[in-house]
Amino acid sequence: MAYSNLAREVFQQEVNNLREAGLFKEERHIHAPQDAEIEVEFPAGSSLKRVINMCANNYLGLSNNPEVIGAAKDGLNQYGYGMSSVRFICGTQNIHRELEKRLTEFLGTEDTLLFPSCMDANAGVFEAILNDQDVMIADRLVHASIVDGMRLCNAMRDTFKHSDMGHLEEKLQDHQDKRYRIIITDGVFSMDGDLARLDEIVELAEKYDSMVFVDDSHASGFIGKTGRGTHEHCGVLGKIDLITTTLGKALGGASGGCVSGRTELVELCRQRARPYLFSNAVAPMIITGALKVFELISGSTERRDKLEENTIYWRRLLTEVGFDLKKGESPIVPVMLYNAKLAQDMARDLYAEGIYAIGFFFPVVPRGQARIRTQLSAAHEKHHLDKALEAFVKVGKKFDILGKSKKEIIAKYGM
């Protein structure tokens, strides 16, 4: 037998090692649609617990929106369940191009290409465009999918300190001998919740003849006055050469992603990006659901405005009671705890209090930067946030961290 008992033991030991290192990830089974309150079975086999969800990317509260669901059902009836094909063989329907045009218009770019996910878009985009005469200069906190995409590309890789414009400028100067330079950043950083300084990045790109790439997955639909993204917020609409983003977060939360930007670059992705070429077309019902999402958010900024109000409210509540927060203005609000065990213990106790939030620690965030990441949604009402605060205060008191500075927390718990 090729899969011998010895192989089984070796792989089982690897799984055990993850468990012992505290890196084992356990799924929690949710017995309801995604929403501000959900029914969770955890651990597996236990009775259902109703909790307030503070860890979904359901920023606009559209994951379970009746109009989006209705449009998806219509799509299912009119266009069928699946395409059984990649896009370039027989998988492109009129609605795929319609959604791509809609995304182009919304993002203020020249053209757009859908991918099965933004992970796939990031995995394919660099290899499709760049070669070994070029250099990719990425912020050190970009998403893992960008790191994977850069690894698949044979252009030179370099990085700059997180949001450090002086360091980025040094790198741009250093790489003037390359054919093309591309600055790579997230729009909103998923672990810290801060925004890229895109206005300054664009200025540097113009000064040093560089392209700019932004992954706006944690921004599309709600950052900026009309929710177009970080480039709208920073006043650089139309100046970003490549944007990748997802339909799997604010924009309905189902799945699908895209590369959007300069016509020729998008065309090269259509010709060469392997995750696009070799994956099935996004299912028709996802497309019609997403088209409805754009209809909803184009007609009104009510949802993103409510999300913004919730974010301001939640940040104010946590600050007033003395939690140490990462500064930022996005709906990602990290409560800093620095110590990995403390982050895990607090998340466990919060869950017991009916609040679902996740503790993150090395290697997901840098060592000594453990935290509980909370995420706001337009689906949250004030009473959800007030109840969540009660739980945070109770647990914060138990661990005696309220009003404590970074130094004091580290002195008490270590890094």
Binding site: R140, V147, M150, R151, M156, R157, D158, T159, K161, H162, K171, F362, P363, P366, R367
Partner: protein, 83 residues
């Protein structure tokens, strides 16, 4: 400490530590396994060494193990300087 160690150590501090980071590092501090330098950002260190010392380090030799401490890096650079 001799000159090369100091030059590399200074570069590592400037390139990889944030301004408010008071992590103490010396020539035997594990950089990559210690979480100070991620393997992805290691490329700039390799490029620095190549430029500074006029050498070419093949990718196969630029492994995270070899780049894990300043002491190891000095051994590597000296090997290429002798070639």
């Amino acid at each position: 400490m001799d000159d090369m160690k100091q030059v590399i150590l200074d570069y590592v501090k400037r390139e990889y530590l944030e301004e408010d980071d008071d992590t103490e590092i010396d020539e035997s501090t594990p950089l990559i396994t210690g979480g100070i330098v991620d393997s992805f950002s290691m490329v700039s260190l390799k490029r620095f060494l190549e430029k500074k010392y006029g050498i070419q380090i093949p990718d196969a030799d630029a492994s995270p193990q070899v780049f894990d401490t300043v002491n190891n890096i000095v051994v590597l650079v000296n090997r290429y300087l002798e070639k």
